[in-house]
Every structure is written in structure tokens, then in C-alpha cells.
């Protein structure tokens, strides 16, 4: 048992190390996040100015700006649409190497992703949180319990996001090339997860419909936990439910793929 944990812990650390080797890429990513953050702050401030500061869906201007910097920072951590390594490995056939190892592929890739997320939390989330807090009106939580809840919620968001991406990658086994599916996802996911505008800006019916999907669990919920909008336990429970449900589905699909489908290439 210890050996099992040691193995996956080591894979997590390697994931952290792998992403930390690309400093310039991380820097460029963070810079892009900041530029888009500034644009969003500009647009959303304009909206509030036009409404004479009246709040929208429970968000006032300070909460909205806080939302922007949290969202921009978390984007790199939960990784909504980055290049899918798995799909590429299935497409080229390199997946045979991963499949001939004495590990659980899903757990191993999850650990790599957790390592990546951990590095992103330090290199991408924290700088943008500080930027927002120092230079903009910022709403810090007034309850110390928010900190652990936020960390937990973010971790669950990574789990949900990873399993969704993993499932999308697995479709390559059947589709042979999943770029179509993934580009559709990369357009839909950010909006539905609440990256562009807070989900509470959406019309009631849309919010209701989204509450039956895993999308809010990936970004909006951790932000809500931080800005203390909505019932924390209910959101965490929903995230946990989605994480488990998607992990179980992905596990089934992987087993199915391994049994039926061709590993491509000679």
C-alpha cells in the first residue's frame, strides 16, 4: 500500500517538475491571462458604470473584479482546454508505452495533472491573486474557513476538469482523431464554466440548466466559495459528486477502449 502511494506521489512530483521546466511558457501564459484579465475588468467595469453601480445577480463591482482575477488565475490551474497529451498519444500510437506499465493509467495521468495543477497554482494563480488584490478593488473573504474550503473546491475542480479531459481524450480510440470534439469543448467549456462572465449573470433558465452539468464545478464554484456567494457545502458536494461520477465513467470507458479498440500504428 505504501509502495502504491509512494509510486503515485512520485508521479505527482514528476508532473510538478515537468511543468516547472517550461518557465518561459508559464510566464507567457500568465502574461496572456493578465492581459485578458485587464480587458475583462475594463468591459465589466463599463457595464457597472452604465448601470450606476447597481449589482448584477448578487455581484457588485468589487466582487466582479475579484471574480475576474480569481478566474484568470484558476484557468491555468484547472486547465479547461489545453493541448491534450492523451489524445495525441492515442493518435500516434505512443499509448502502447503507457499501457504496458504496471500502473493504473487514469490514476497515473491524474497524478501528473495534479502535479501540473500544483505548479500552476504557485506560478499562475498566486501572482494574479496578488496583482488583483494590490492594484484593484478586491474582496477578501471575511471568514478564515473560506481558505481551506477554497483549496478543497479548487482541488475538486481539477478532478472534474481532468476526468472530462480524460474522457474527451479517450474518444480518440473510437474517432481516431478527436480534434473536432475537443475544439467544440474548448469553445463551450470556458463559457459554461463561468470564465467569460459569472454564471449568475446568465438568465435564470440557463443557470438552472447549467446546474445539471459539471461545468460550474470546474471554475464558478471555487470562485463562489472565495467570494462567499452561495452555500459552500452544497457546492462542494456537487463538485465531489461530479468528480466521482466522471471518474467512474472514464474508468468504464477506458476499460471498454482497452478491450475493444485498436492501438494504432506499428
Amino acid at each position: 500500500m505504501c509502495a502504491v502511494i509512494g509510486c503515485y506521489l512520485r508521479i505527482t512530483l514528476a508532473g510538478f517538475h515537468r511543468y516547472s521546466t517550461y518557465r518561459q511558457a508559464v510566464l507567457a501564459g500568465t502574461a496572456t491571462n493578465i492581459v485578458f484579465g485587464l480587458i475583462k475588468v475594463g468591459i465589466l467595469s463599463g457595464v457597472f458604470l452604465a448601470r450606476d453601480g447597481a449589482s448584477i445577480g448578487g455581484y457588485d463591482l468589487t466582487t466582479t473584479i475579484t471574480y475576474v482575477w480569481l478566474g484568470q488565475g484558476l484557468l491555468g490551474v484547472v486547465d479547461l482546454w489545453s493541448e491534450d497529451d492523451l489524445a495525441e498519444r492515442i493518435r500516434t500510437g505512443d499509448i502502447v508505452v503507457d499501457l504496458s506499465r504496471p500502473w493504473n493509467l487514469q490514476t497515473a495521468l491524474l497524478c501528473t495533472d495534479l502535479g501540473r495543477a500544483g505548479y500552476s497554482a504557485i506560478a499562475r494563480f498566486v501572482p494574479q491573486l496578488l496583482l488583483g488584490a494590490v492594484f484593484f478593488p478586491f474582496r477578501w473573504p471575511d471568514d478564515p474557513m473560506v481558505a481551506p474550503a477554497f483549496v478543497l473546491s479548487t482541488a475538486l475542480a481539477v478532478l472534474v476538469s481532468f476526468n472530462l479531459r480524460f474522457l474527451l481524450g479517450l474518444t480518440t480510440f473510437w474517432l481516431l482523431d478527436s480534434r473536432g470534439v475537443r475544439s467544440l469543448y474548448s469553445i463551450a467549456a470556458p463559457t459554461l464554466a463561468g470564465l467569460e462572465i459569472p454564471l449568475s449573470f446568465f438568465p435564470g433558465w440557463a443557470q438552472h440548466a447549467l446546474s445539471f452539468t459539471p461545468f460550474p464545478s470546474m471554475l464558478q464554484f471555487p470562485i463562489n466559495v472565495f467570494v462567499q456567494d452561495g452555500p459552500v457545502l452544497a457546492m462542494l458536494a456537487q463538485q465531489l459528486l461530479w468528480a466521482l461520477l466522471l471518474a467512474a465513467t472514464a474508468r468504464l470507458v477506458l476499460a471498454r477502449a482497452m478491450h475493444k479498440v485498436v492501438v494504432q500504428g506499428g
Partner: protein
């Protein structure tokens, strides 16, 4: 070590048969292959592209589920006990990497130690050995992405051996390597087999690999085994003709009337003559003594058929 009987794998391929219609067609990649490999053997598994080599290897390692027949490796059912089997065999794919692109070689090895759950002491000892024999020391701390192909292959082979496998499966291990690197790798593998008794099964298109490394050769084409046996035996069976090159002291008229012998070439006005004969009808020694009675011989040489010829003959079957 490996027991395979009537092993088969069929793929279903969907083809366009009209604007909307699709027909399904079964393609046989491997059709009823049987063989056995005992511990300590060195087997070359060869065949033209698309013969079913890689498909067989994938079934042996448990990545692909057979559609027919039975396969057991190290006494295990590969597709059902994949993880357990993975700990007991090593696999090298010449065209794929099992190392982590972004990490130094040493860290890739360390990660593999944890994945295969190898005790630290064993790991250090095996790494030391491989590093010594394959000359890894100079690039152990280089990220894998910066290694040359030759260096990377040495790393790949090491990676496959760190958990001390009983069986090493190599899928085209020497592909793309220069002559020096090939030779070095072959030497290492050969030594691995003799000193540690590791069973080797390798697919290759480089027949020198077989000649230098494998005591047994298995030829497969279109999913069937065409030939299986020691290289020397296959050579005699497929190409029983040998060529005898005779240099005479002075020009000699074309030799005729020798039993079972045909003239291939006469050079220098009869100074050098090439004769082909079947080894099963006449021995080279008898032939030489017969010839030297006719005219004084300066030098003789017997030319064995090239392994390429043997294989070309086999593919034609």
C-alpha cells in the same frame, strides 16, 4: 517463457460502399500462429511490413486482446494480468519512447523505479551495471529531449531492464541507429542473454541483428509462421546451394562433368571459376579434391548465402 497456440487477431474495418452505406470487413492481422519460446532463448521475429509482428507483440504484452487462440507469457494471461506481467517483462519499442521527454534521464529512471516498485538497492545496482556497459554516465543528467537517437535508445534499453525482467521484448530496437550504435547495442544484448540468462525476443528488419544475436529465427508473413528454427538450419533448408570460388594457378578450361555442379561464372579466361553445388549431394571437400586433380588450385572459398537471400526466399513461399 512464451506459449502461443493458434493465436489470432482480426480487426473489423468499415469501408465506404456508397454515399451513406458502409460495409464492415474483417481483416486478419494474425491468423493462427503457434510457437513456444523457452527461458534463455534468443529469438528473432521477422517478416515484411504488415506481416503481423507488432500485433503479435502487442498480444504478448497484453495491450491487445486476441480474438482467437491462447497466449501465456511467464505463465500469465497477458491481457488479463497485464500489470503483473509488466513487472516481469521488459519492452522496448524502437519507434516510441518510454522516457519522459522533459525530464533528465536519471529522473525518468527514478520514476520507473517507483512505478515498477523496485527496491532502491536493486535499482542502483542495475542502473550502475547498465550505465557502465552502455556508457550512460556522460548524459544521465541531460533531459531526454536533448539526447541523440543513439543515446536515447541506450536509455530506452536501460529503462526496460531496471526491474530485472526475465523476458525482454524489443520491437525494432536498432531502427535508425548508425553502425557503431547498432553494434554496441547488439553486444550488450548478447551479453545480457549469456550472463543474466534474459530471454530475448526481437522484431527487426535489420538481418544483421538476427545474425549477431539470435540463435533462432521465426519468419512470419500475412499472419502465418513461414519458418521457425536455428538460422543455420533455415539457411540449409531454404538455400541449399553454395558457391565455390576456385582460383587456379594457370587458366583452365571451364570445368564440366562434375556431379551436381553448375558453373556460375568464368573469369580471367578460366583463371577464376565460380561453381554452385548442393550441400546435400556433394561436400565442398570432395569437390575441391576433384577439381585439384584436374588442374593445380591456388585458392578456394565457399560463399554462404546471404541472410537476405534466405529471407527473400522465405517470403516468396
Amino acid at each position: 517463457m512464451i506459449e502461443v497456440s493458434e493465436l489470432g487477431r482480426t480487426f473489423t474495418v468499415t469501408r465506404k460502399a456508397g454515399r451513406f452505406r458502409r460495409t464492415r470487413q474483417d481483416v486478419v492481422a494474425v491468423g493462427g500462429v503457434s510457437f513456444e519460446v523457452r527461458a534463455g532463448e534468443t529469438v528473432g521475429y521477422i517478416g515484411p511490413n504488415g506481416a503481423g509482428k507488432s500485433t503479435t507483440i502487442k498480444m504478448l504484452t497484453g495491450i491487445l486482446v486476441p480474438t482467437a487462440g491462447r497466449v501465456r507469457v511467464c505463465g500469465l494471461d497477458p491481457s488479463r494480468q497485464r500489470a503483473e506481467l509488466a513487472r516481469r517483462i521488459g519492452v522496448v519499442f524502437g519507434q516510441r519512447s518510454q522516457l519522459w521527454w522533459d525530464l533528465p534521464l536519471r529522473e525518468s529512471f527514478d520514476l520507473l523505479r517507483h512505478i515498477f516498485r523496485v527496491p532502491a538497492g536493486d535499482h542502483a545496482k542495475r542502473l550502475q551495471e547498465c550505465a557502465e556497459l552502455l556508457g550512460l554516465h556522460e548524459f544521465l543528467d541531460t533531459p531526454v529531449r536533448q539526447l541523440s537517437l543513439g543515446q536515447r535508445m541506450r536509455g530506452e534499453v536501460t529503462a526496460a531492464l531496471l526491474h530485472g525482467p526475465e523476458l525482454l521484448v524489443l520491437d525494432e530496437p536498432t531502427i535508425g541507429l548508425d553502425l557503431d550504435s547498432k553494434e554496441r547495442l547488439r553486444e550488450f544484448l548478447s551479453e545480457l542473454n549469456t550472463t543474466r540468462g534474459t530471454t530475448l525476443l526481437l522484431t527487426t528488419h535489420d538481418l544483421d541483428d538476427i545474425e549477431r544475436l539470435c540463435r533462432r529465427m521465426m519468419v512470419i508473413d500475412r499472419g502465418r509462421v513461414l519458418a521457425d528454427g536455428p538460422l543455420a538450419e533455415l539457411r540449409d533448408e531454404v538455400t541449399p546451394e553454395r558457391v565455390l570460388v576456385v582460383d587456379f594457378e594457370r587458366p583452365c578450361e571451364e570445368l564440366t562433368g562434375l556431379p551436381g555442379v553448375q558453373t556460375v561464372k568464368v573469369e580471367g579466361g578460366g583463371l577464376r571459376q565460380q561453381l554452385s553445388f548442393r550441400r546435400d549431394t556433394v561436400t565442398a571437400a570432395t569437390l575441391i579434391s576433384m577439381i585439384s586433380q584436374r588442374s593445380p588450385v591456388h585458392d578456394v572459398a565457399v560463399i554462404e548465402p546471404d541472410i537476405d537471400d534466405v529471407v527473400r526466399q522465405l517470403y516468396r513461399r
